[in-house]
Symmetry: D2
Subunit: 419 residues, 4 copies
């Protein structure tokens, strides 16, 4: 496909492994991963770089836990920026801001591991392998917070490579290639898909749709996907959507599009923004196909509800052991969770709420007993939430939320708050 | 196509221009381009950003020469980095390198105009418009060298956006869409294409090929393209290729592929590397289609030859007024130009030579009286050069050139050097 | 692309030309085209057939006028049906209609040239070459009416191969491959396109569109194409559309789509129906893109007007020498041409009228002085016609026209008739 | 997609059902299928035809066994050809073969049901539905042999619609759309695929391939597909291929491509030829990808072996109850089956043998105990056969087989014949 990926097979086939260059690169015996990294950083040639990138990824795959941690520590320290050099150049630039000093300063301000990652990225599948590397790192960062310096560079580079402007939305349906579909099965994070048959039930009926977002940086890998059900009303329970015995609806008669599952596919891309209009985009596409649609809503989980309740309202949490709880007891607590519990930055505590509010949604209804699965009871005492996307107000809502963290909320929800 | 480009029409159609947000963004009357830039930098919302980016590009298009220069000066100064802040943060980091300080330092080391360009880039066609903006800037930099600071940021961001890993090679032929073909006509920089008929003569015959390199950052815009003629020998004059009366060759009987024209399409991408294996890539593709091909060569211009000659060998330059010059006089001088005249970095002076040597080529033959066009006589006294790509040695040559600036050269050329 | 087309190169490359089979097929020296046809009909093998089909097409291309006529006469006579055999089998079948007799009867009723054409059709580009062969035949049929028997078989097979169900409509615009665009230039039959620049003026502006119909039987070859201008009124003169100085219209503000040129591309497909809803199809597509469009009209030539006038109204024809004629004189005659002049089958004399009426159009307005080009004056004394497609009535109009040849006509036209 | 398929939804949406035309077509209450067929044959309009075709297919789907038989009998008799008219026109033509008489004769020689089928074919999915209709018919023909007249017309039309020249070969792999893959699962006729996991084992490994043949007459429906295993030897037992524990082979090291399963997908297309070079085509494609491949072989079933044995060699059949039979006993009988047992036309009795021999294969080896599945024991006493495709001799073999039914056979097989 891409140019560089074409070159690697050439590398393998050609007889030059036995040349001076080849012998140096493929060398005798094993080489330590850090030694390979240093060789790659010293290399001037594009070919050497490519070959070494391959070898480094292979070596990384062989590392055990301990060595992997050591590798990240080396990235953190040995491949950090040269702070003394930076200070000296900053002094010079402050003195007289010439273009040459500006360029030198910019180079000095960049940790060496950024260039390392950039060179690794040119290997076939390099981006994917770096995303997985960051997944490993994120696991380690909790116990080793200093490693966050490496993570900051990962995130900085990913934000640049996954240039939002190239993001593309594609429908996923029963005519989608199987190797994409198996990823939908694997990555579904909200309501598990257990088999190809279950997948088909979410894709093939004429009142079921799915849209995924792709990026050329990782083609064939969905980044985010949204599952949609067309209905004639806003659902109060997830079973209304997932029930196998439900009757199919003629999509031309549907008035409501329900976004019932939204999954981020790659933990290694955590914190990399794909923009705040994904749902609006899907809604707009659906509206083109089905002009009769009048409302665009979600039926969403409340993943942080029980945790919050336990931490702040111990008694209530103990008294509300599962999803069969009386709505009269549960909903006022839920309203407080959504409207009063805030993160340090002033946003709602609930991560799903933050996602939809940034996307311009409004908080429309809280539903008790809405998700009686084990996970639903455990995380949220059965609570589910309807967010509404009013296409005429999405932009205004988004801007207001981004600026003031203003949560647009129905009066029905507001009334639930204890007065 | 892309998500963000879909949003803009929505912006235009929806009635929200009259909303509070709309009124603020589209405001009454004209706004100064710098005022718009400041508004965009202060904006939190994605929508505001998009709308303002559009307005800024429109305003930029209206600037006259004087105002354009003022705009770049403002980018250079007002949107520069905060050097005092950077020094202070560098001091803290040197003291204790915490992740938070690391992040703050990284942010401070980045001039504000980088974020400005990133936001502009999200507008429809943003990349293309920024590339053109840099073209304007490059014209001004000569007379205003301080503006090179802005240029350094352009180049830094372009290098990141035009991620080499996504570069794709596509054949260009008579079945290529017309809007691409008209760009081939427009961008041909070596041997001008004067009409659609002339274009067809370079694309349609079975012994003529063209390959272009594309990148998703600017789809529908070739970045570099290479024109190829299949022949039965290495040509000594460009007329052998371009002659309208030539006889077409059965491509299965061709032994030689001649790269007779290589054009970079966008001055605004000057200095952004697309890697060093473009020609190898084209050669490999050709070899797959025509296994009988034995040699891969160029017939290349010598654009800096006369200038060098005039500057160093005044007498010779005066004595060699045009392309009819006797080869015996010209070629020894040419050999010195290629083998002895070096840039400060130690590379050959000739830019075309640098391109091919980086790509792994070898200097094979110098040809007098090879380009008798006005341009050919004027730039190079009719001289043209054959570089040879030996597919088995391209990697080794590239690595040696990148490391030691070693020029691989035929003995025929070497013998021309005065002893 | 297709399987059989893949086999031919194999044929050429493999060494089997020297095998017994190869020697027989490629034989020594020239062979007469009829001899080759007989060999192909006697052949049992698929390979022999393919090879011989190629040789027959090559031989056909070499025929001079006289030999070509002789070839068609041989097709007409030697490769006709065996009428005596047919009579005998019909008698048996009348006696007892067994399946075996049914099959034998069906085979006997088919002239041998049908099988000949079917085998020729398997050669690469076979369909295209047969279509061109029929073009030649149609020229000869006038002087040699008996040859129409051959033509009937051509038409029968083409109707089957160009199965209407596979017809596909594609937009043609400035992003269309050049080898298709050059056919648009070549095949434009109504208002000539003189250059690539003129083509661009018909394709690139946002108020200009073109749609072509393709069929897999002859991919890369448009069969019919329609050029469309978006306007704010129904034009009375072709210059309103073709004027180079006209102002471009924002397509979202257009109320009217004008089909100003409709070209059949292949004379060799004369009489092969592509169905009667081509224009409705284009109109429906445009309506989806531009919901504001309110009317769908043509500005059409009247190719048979002067001929009819000369034949029936000699005086009038003499008195109306060109397109500057006073409308008061011309239009009543035109109204009679459209409403009263009928072919033997009871349809209007004018072929363009027949096309649009079958497609469900209504005759809306006659325009004098509407086409002042040489061709326009010569064929139609400057007359042009607006047909209107009322999307809600197209089906009803079509059915009524097909059944009763009923011409739906505006009262304005009807009033022009002399009372 | 296609034009006509676009029209049907228009039909449904538009308000014209209440028009005079609409009322006539959709009429009050149910209509008998034959009545609808007569209406369609009498209709002049394209729209009526389309609407009625839809209604006829719907009505056909509702028929019970008895009514379906009655429907086919009506097709056979009422929609047959008019033999008296044919005889009369044949007499006239014999008298003087004018083009008009020729045309009339051709029309009369065609049973009316051909036009009926052609009109039905224009409905969306018409071809697929007609193919299924013929499947029903083929079941009935055994008990009602006179219905074969209808079948002859089906086959005649299908042969024309499934124009061999449009057949396209496509690889099927794990990136193929799921709705195609599920058909591979459904249509696999030789070695059943029980799950998506088993499908993946046949598609994803780098030593496993699958190619399907498609035709635009029934897009998204494979017509024939071939499963291939790359190996380092010619397998003697099917388990060598299907074993789940086998080790994957590096395809660049494979010397042998084994066609281990070839499935025709549609019984309703029985007798419609897709040409005789399908396997050669697949082999050629594989050879391009893997130039190291030296031999192209099958491991094929012997579906008629036990039946033949029971009918001709009762004692032997009784003595050879299953696949564990001693090869010394079985193989001489098998050799007689392949080399001596002939159909009335002089071809081998075994249908799989006929397919491969027509395709140009050679009979290479007989393997006892090669398929120990229930089906393998039951049909063929465990026997499997290797056919070999020698790419240099395929054409010659094909031609010789088609002309003389000559079976090319290895000496190993020939020696098995009892002398």
């Amino acid at each position: 496909m891409s140019l560089l990926q074409d070159l690697i097979p050439n590398l393998r086939q050609s007889g030059w492994r036995t040349s001076a260059l080849g012998r140096r690169l493929f060398g005798p015996g094993e080489r330590d991963i850090l030694e390979l990294c240093r060789m790659m950083m010293d290399s001037d040639g594009e070919y050497s770089s490519l070959v070494l990138a391959e070898r480094i990824f292979d070596a990384y795959g062989e590392l055990d836990d301990e060595k992997r941690l050591a590798f990240f520590h080396a990235l953190n320290d040995e491949f950090d920026l040269d702070i003394e050099g930076l200070q000296s150049l900053a002094g010079e630039y402050a003195n007289e801001p010439t273009p040459d000093r500006f360029r030198a300063l910019g180079a000095a301000a960049e940790p060496r591991r950024q260039e390392l990652f950039r060179r690794l990225n040119l290997a076939p599948g390099g981006t994917r392998r770096l995303v997985r590397m960051r997944e490993d790192l994120l696991e380690l960062v909790r116990a080793h917070p200093m490693l966050r310096r490496v993570d900051i560079d990962f995130r900085h580079l990913f934000a640049s490579w996954f240039n939002r402007g190239f993001l593309v939305m594609q429908p996923v349906d029963w005519t989608t290639p199987a190797h994409i579909l198996e990823k939908i099965i694997a990555y579904e994070a909200v309501h598990e898909i257990r088999s190809w048959e279950e997948l088909r039930r979410r894709l093939e009926p004429s009142d079921r749709y799915c849209f995924a977002f792709f990026h050329p940086a990782m083609e064939d890998e969905p980044l985010v996907f949204v599952e949609v059900a067309l209905t004639d009303h806003m659902p109060a329970r997830i079973d209304e959507i997932l029930d196998r015995e439900r009757e199919e609806l003629d999509p031309d008669e549907a008035s409501c599009a329900v976004f019932y599952s939204i999954s981020n596919c790659h933990r290694g891309l955590a914190g990399v923004s794909f923009g705040n209009f994904l749902i609006k985009q899907v809604a707009t596409r659906l509206k083109q196909s089905f002009p009769e649609l009048r409302s665009f809503v979600t039926i969403s989980p409340a993943p942080g509800f029980r945790r919050w309740l336990s931490s702040t309202e111990e008694d209530a949490a103990r008294a509300l052991p599962d999803g069969n709880t009386d709505a009269d007891d549960l909903l006022p607590l839920a309203a407080r969770y959504y409207l009063e519990a805030k993160s340090p930055s002033g946003e709602p505590l609930d991560p799903v709420a933050r996602f939809h509010l940034r996307n311009g949604a409004e908080l429309a209804r809280l539903n008790a007993g809405a998700d009686l699965s084990d996970k639903g009871r455990e995380q949220s005492l059965g609570l589910m939430v309807n967010y509404v996307y009013d296409l005429a107000r999405v932009e205004e809502n988004h801007e207001n939320y981004m600026k003031h963290h203003k949560v647009v909320c129905s009066s029905a929800v507001r009334k639930l708050l204890p007065t």
